[in-house]
Symmetry: C2
Subunit: 325 residues, 2 copies
């Protein structure tokens, strides 16, 4: 199908077209990439701006339950919700988080919800591009809130935060000494920390953990793009649907303030520049993984290791071969 026509169908709210469009942006084929670029260009006509919410949490913190309960709450408010995932492990395992829609049984049956698992068999760079473009597709399709889920592994949090207007860190109740388990860099990109499972036996531990993180957040340098009181930590229970309305209110307060002060648009502009630079790097370095260069590099690496050729000379040969096609 003509990519411009596909874009129009996406904008018109056709779910099958949206799914097809995401499949197109996932493809690594050169002709598909050309079509994807035309498709993405044509989305501008929609002029829609969704709220993009990144959500990170290690396995076991109750991410699926949170998305299910939070998503259903948003839908009851009359909003349309899309759920995407960045799963850095899926390229290795072939599996994917969100692969099993039964993890979000109610949400997956909602006509106003759209759930798409993380693509498998892609490198993180590929997952990042596909998810970023899928976010734009869902936005153009009229979804109001786009949840972008990731497990807290390696660089995936950075990837997700760079495509989110708001970044949530979901944590489980724990002893205070486990605070160190969350890397400082992650604390710095979090806009809100939600300590989940604040119910039953874990309620007291959740409150303690929340207080610990609230303290840790106060130690972080005040950020110019936050109103007073942010970033903040709070407890929720996704299982019992407690605290999610409050969390949503606080998210809206934060985002309204950022919109009013120009930080919302500024962040998106910065993110676009970031992805532009990343796409160039990704495209350049990607050349090294393709034949015949890949074999040439492997062969030269052996000669470099054995001392038959200097690293500079071998690199010079590779770059010359690249330049001369």
């Amino acid at each position: 199908m003509d990519p411009k026509e596909l874009a129009q169908q996406v904008i018109d709210g056709n779910r099958r077209a949206l799914a097809r469009a995401i499949t197109l942006v996932e493809s690594a084929r050169a002709d598909h990439r050309e079509q994807a670029i035309i498709l993405m260009d044509a989305l501008k006509a929609s002029n829609r701006v969704a709220l993009r919410v990144g959500l990170s949490g290690t396995p076991g913190v109750g991410k699926s339950t949170f998305i299910e309960t939070f998503g259903m709450m948003l839908i009851r408010e009359g909003l349309k919700v899309a759920v995407l995932a960045v799963d850095p492990s899926s390229s290795r395992s072939g599996g994917s988080i969100l692969g099993d829609k039964t993890r979000m049984e109610l949400l997956s049956r909602e006509p106003h919800a759209f759930i798409r698992p993380s693509p498998s068999q892609l490198e993180l760079g590929g997952v990042a591009r596909r998810t970023r473009e899928a976010v734009s597709l869902c936005e153009a399709a009229g979804y109001d809130i786009i949840l972008i889920e990731t497990v807290g592994v390696g660089q995936s949090e950075t990837v997700v935060s760079q495509m989110s207007d708001l970044f949530l860190l979901l944590l489980a109740p724990a002893g205070g000494d486990e605070l160190q388990g969350v890397k400082r860099g992650i604390m710095e990109i979090a806009d809100m920390i939600l300590v989940n499972k604040a119910d039953g036996d874990l309620k007291a531990a959740a409150n303690r953990t929340c207080a610990d993180y609230a303290g840790a957040l106060r130690l972080i340098r005040k950020r110019s793009y936050d109103p007073e009181g942010y970033p903040k930590a709070m407890t929720v229970s996704a299982l019992q649907d407690n605290g999610l309305t409050e969390a949503w209110t606080d998210m809206q307060t934060l985002i309204d303030w950022r919109r009013a002060h120009g930080h919302f648009d500024a962040r998106r502009a910065r993110q676009a520049e970031y992805w532009f630079a990343q796409e160039i790097r990704f495209g350049l370095l990607g050349q090294l993984d393709r034949e015949p260069l890949k074999s040439m590099i492997a062969q030269l690496a052996g000669q470099v290791a054995s001392g038959d050729i200097t690293p500079s000379h071998a690199a010079h040969d590779v770059l010359t071969a690249l330049r001369e096609g």
Copy 2:
């Protein structure tokens, strides 16, 4: 001069030729780079293998005094010593560590010593390549020990450890709670930790600091390329020339063991492969800093930020321009 002839003069021990050769590898000009590659190829004829010792320490730990005293001790043992530096800050400040040879007054007057400051006005990638090639030049010129100094900032320790057979971390006496100031990654690449200034009022503090680091080193996973008892921490006083002979004996023990077990050569082979990969990356990404691409990218970045073009589309245009020359 013909680069092959220059190489021969370097191998013959001509100091002026060595200095000229280093100037040549520092140059970013394309024709100089071609000559540098021929020069580096021609060094193989020397068949010399020096001991490359990386040395990291923050300002104030007494690095210059250590190099001065340690270097003079090596020279008394009949060895020839070269001192190079990787200074990531020099590209910004225009200044350079080792810029003032009076910092090593005795050593700089020794005929068996060669001291070369860090080049200024180069990016870390450029400093890395130049220093790596300068190390090979000094090695071919017959220097037995090559000390590669760096301040402990950012990535410079990784750069230096990737061109060293042995990596020393020089520390000052401190309270035990400052142990956290040394990043875990640095602890993991250190072969020996030397706590300097173990003299006068600071002697007791130096012993405490040394014990703290010895304890920390024991927590690091045993490395297959180390004999029993390594990595190790010890105290020295560069000012009073105390402990340096012992440190040198321990360095030799470590290196002899690594040579005997194949780890010395294996490490150099791995390093060569690392630099090969780095040179390719450096060369590829370096294209983006050159005109007319640089201006094209800057202009597109503005359009990307304002939303006039998608990041993928803009990157596609850059990569196409690059491919089509």
